[in-house]
């Protein structure tokens, strides 16, 4: 029997090392090494869960869904910290900062990772809520790493809006508990709630679900609630942006999946669908339109995250678990690669303005190739994994008679593709911008290139066998 706590050991070691300012010369490399080591470790711990065995530890358990998202989080964090080991020391040369402040980054990052593991593994709505609140608290100071006015404003917006959002989710959680007034003993454990779902008060259950959706939806960036997201994701240092987009959004979406599961088990599947599918489709369409008018490279990727959150919300609404996991995996790989390579560009060229960037392919061919590849992947072109997961999702909405949603999705995806491609063409082609202060280091593209290769493999590996494997992850969980 493997204790789940083992997952947290290496991140906590990183967090602990960050408390010693003297470790600053070697800490970035040590942290990158430890988190790379974490990848095989997590795979080993999660392996039984992939073959249908639930590893239970109190109110936490690694089930199929939890295992998938734990692995995704680990891969994203490992890549982000590898990149941080180049980017942060290089950035320190331009903006001097004390050793203490520099090392604090790793303390917060380590704790942030532990919180991100806890959220998808919690089998109790209360603990899940606490884990998600903890992710906000640990990551808000990370957004403000550069300590300029823009990043400070973004941090305040992130902290406040997500705290209000998460307060609504707490209200929803309390209402889930209140909905059990007909039972002798209430519970917040998701398996327990699902077992007694039929005897919950339907009206309170619906209200609870709406509040949870508002709360976790704010954290995930569903359309009218998204407006902190582009600020926080673009002002944070690149490795943090990658973790926020590639890993944290997934945690909020898993929370939505878990509460949806309870409401569906109560026989309110139509209610879940009628809320989530339009919300997701509108998010995709709105994000696509907003992608057209972008002036900033990292902000563009942030809006593209909103678009993909919309797709994932539609997948949750359709109850399509395998597509949800598959698309989350593909999006995380491509988006992490994009944020990391954009971080390189910002570090070396000193700007992320789309009008000032040009000729990346000439300036740094390897970076340019990875940027274009990941750009195609995020826009959903074949042969990358995102194409297949988006295709499968469209197939599900069409066969599920969601005509409005299908049309909105197709329109949104098309507009988003055009938006991303037209901006990206301006960045990679054309004459080299001559403002480069530093020479590009080809090896800085290594981690993003590996992620991109992963996305390519995911595009080829999706066979009926792979889909039935993904389906098996959800079999124990019902729905």
């Amino acid at each position: 029997m493997i204790p789940i706590g083992l997952l947290a050991v290496l991140p906590l070691v990183v967090a602990g090392l960050g408390l010693f300012p003297r470790s600053s010369p070697w800490l970035p490399r040590a942290a990158a090494g430890l988190m790379t080591l974490q990848v095989p470790l997590v795979l080993w711990i999660c392996l039984p869960a992939f073959s249908g065995v639930r590893i239970v530890w109190g109110d936490f358990a690694i089930d199929g869904l939890g295992a998938a998202f734990t692995c995704i989080t680990t891969i994203v964090v490992a890549a982000a910290l590898i990149q941080a080991s180049f980017l942060l020391p290089a950035g320190r040369a331009n903006h001097p900062m004390s050793d203490r402040r520099f090392c604090l980054f790793y303390t917060l990052a380590g704790l942030f990772v532990v919180a991100m593991y806890s959220a998808p593994l919690a089998q109790n709505l209360g603990y899940m809520w606490m884990a998600l609140e903890a992710t906000t608290l640990m990551s808000a100071p990370l957004v403000d790493f550069h300590r300029n006015r823009a990043s400070l404003e973004a941090t305040w917006k992130y902290l406040l809006l997500c705290s209000v959002g998460i307060a609504f989710a707490l209200f929803g959680t309390v209402l889930f508990f209140a909905a059990q007034h007909g039972l002798l003993q209430g519970t917040l454990s998701t398996p327990g709630l699902m077992a007694t779902a039929k005897s919950l008060d339907p009206k309170l259950l619906r209200v609870a679900y709406v509040f949870c959706l508002l709360g976790y939806g704010t954290k995930a960036g569903i359309f009218p609630l998204h407006n902190w997201l582009p600020d926080a994701h673009s002002e944070a240092p690149a490795p943090v942006s990658a973790m926020l987009s590639g890993a944290l959004l997934n945690c909020a979406l898993v929370a939505i999946w878990r509460v949806s599961q309870v409401v569906s088990a109560a026989g309110q599947d139509d209610f879940v669908r009628s809320l989530l599918v339009p919300a997701g489709a509108i998010t995709v369409l709105a994000a696509g339109l907003m992608l057209i008018r972008q002036h900033d490279l990292k902000r563009m990727w942030a809006y593209s995250s909103v678009e993909h959150v919309g797709l994932l919300v539609v997948a949750i609404g359709m109850g399509a678990g395998p597509i949800f996991v598959l698309h989350a995996f593909n999006h995380s790989l491509a988006k992490t690669a994009l944020f990391l390579i954009s971080g390189n560009i910002l570090e070396v060229l000193g700007t992320r303005s789309l009008s000032k960037l040009s000729g990346i392919l000439r300036f740094a061919p390897l970076w340019g190739i990875v940027l274009v590849g990941a750009g195609f992947a995020i826009a959903g072109s074949p042969p990358f994994g995102t194409f297949l997961s988006e295709w499968l999702l469209l197939k599900t909405t069409f066969t599920g008679n969601q005509v409005f949603a299908s049309v909105a999705l197709v329109a949104g995806l098309t507009i988003a593709f055009l938006g991303v491609m037209s901006h990206l063409a301006g960045v990679v082609f054309g004459p080299e911008s001559d403002k480069s202060k530093l020479k590009p280091v080809p090896s800085w593209a290594a981690a993003p290139a590996v992620l991109l290769a992963g996305s390519l493999v995911a595009g080829i590996a999706v066979t009926p066998t792979a889909m039935s494997f993904l389906k098996s992850l959800f079999e124990a969980a019902g729905r």
């Binding site: 209360g126 404003e153 305040w156 309390v174």
Partner: protein
């Protein structure tokens, strides 16, 4: 209909929140927050006496120590350090604020009646907690200073806590305690960010943060 002590205390919490809508001084608002939290702690103790369960007293103590003492003292110290006294409101002044607060109270009562658990003993308290939630949202959107927004968030959380206390049978203690603890950490981090806002922008007026609106 006679009011139970529990409903009375819930009403006291909501009344102090309405009063907070009408005052502009930051220190006065913090006093309102202390009153509000004290009333909720008393609700918690009444429940403890009614159910004969010791852990309610522990929760009352923690709630008051954190939200009624530690956080207000910290925020009051921060306000003095930052030299902020008055929050004149973003859209309207205190008089209309008070009216809006009353409106939120009425709305809370009506909606709370629908959300109250059937056969529960405290339908009135459900209305009062909804009123606290609405007033928290109102304060959040109509105040200028970052520090007042934290106070608004605390009011909103108080409403949720009151709802959880009065409308559920034994909400797991860990979750309630965890929520109180996380709000403490949140306010501390928020306070640090406010100090940094003050250093970079030389004010903490959130309606005047325009770095990102390019």
């Amino acid at each position: 209909m006679s009011l139970s002590g529990l409903d009375l205390m819930a009403a006291a919490a909501a009344a102090s929140a309405v009063w907070m809508c009408g005052v502009s001084g930051v220190q006065t608002q913090l006093r309102g927050l202390v009153l509000q939290t004290a009333a909720i702690a008393i609700v918690c103790m009444i429940l403890g006496a009614r159910e004969h369960e010791g852990h309610y007293y522990g929760l009352a103590l923690v709630v008051f120590a954190v939200k009624g003492a530690a956080i207000p003292v910290f925020l009051s110290w921060a306000a003095r350090r930052l030299g902020v006294r008055k929050d004149s409101g973003a859209y309207f002044g205190p008089a209309i604020g008070l009216l809006a607060g009353c409106a939120a109270l009425v709305a809370g009562l009506f909606i709370g009646r629908d959300l109250a658990v059937p056969m529960g003993t405290s339908a009135g308290a459900a209305g009062m907690s909804m009123a606290l939630v609405f007033i928290g949202m109102l304060l959040m959107t109509t105040r200028r200073l970052a520090i007042s927004q934290l106070i608004a968030l605390l009011t909103l959380e108080n409403g949720i806590l009151l709802f959880g206390l009065t409308q559920t049978k034994g909400m797991p203690l860990m979750v309630e305690m965890g929520a109180v603890f996380e709000i403490l950490v949140g306010v501390l981090i928020g306070g640090l960010v406010i100090f940094r806002l003050n250093r970079s922008f030389e004010h903490i007026d959130v309606t005047n943060l325009r770095e990102l609106r390019r």
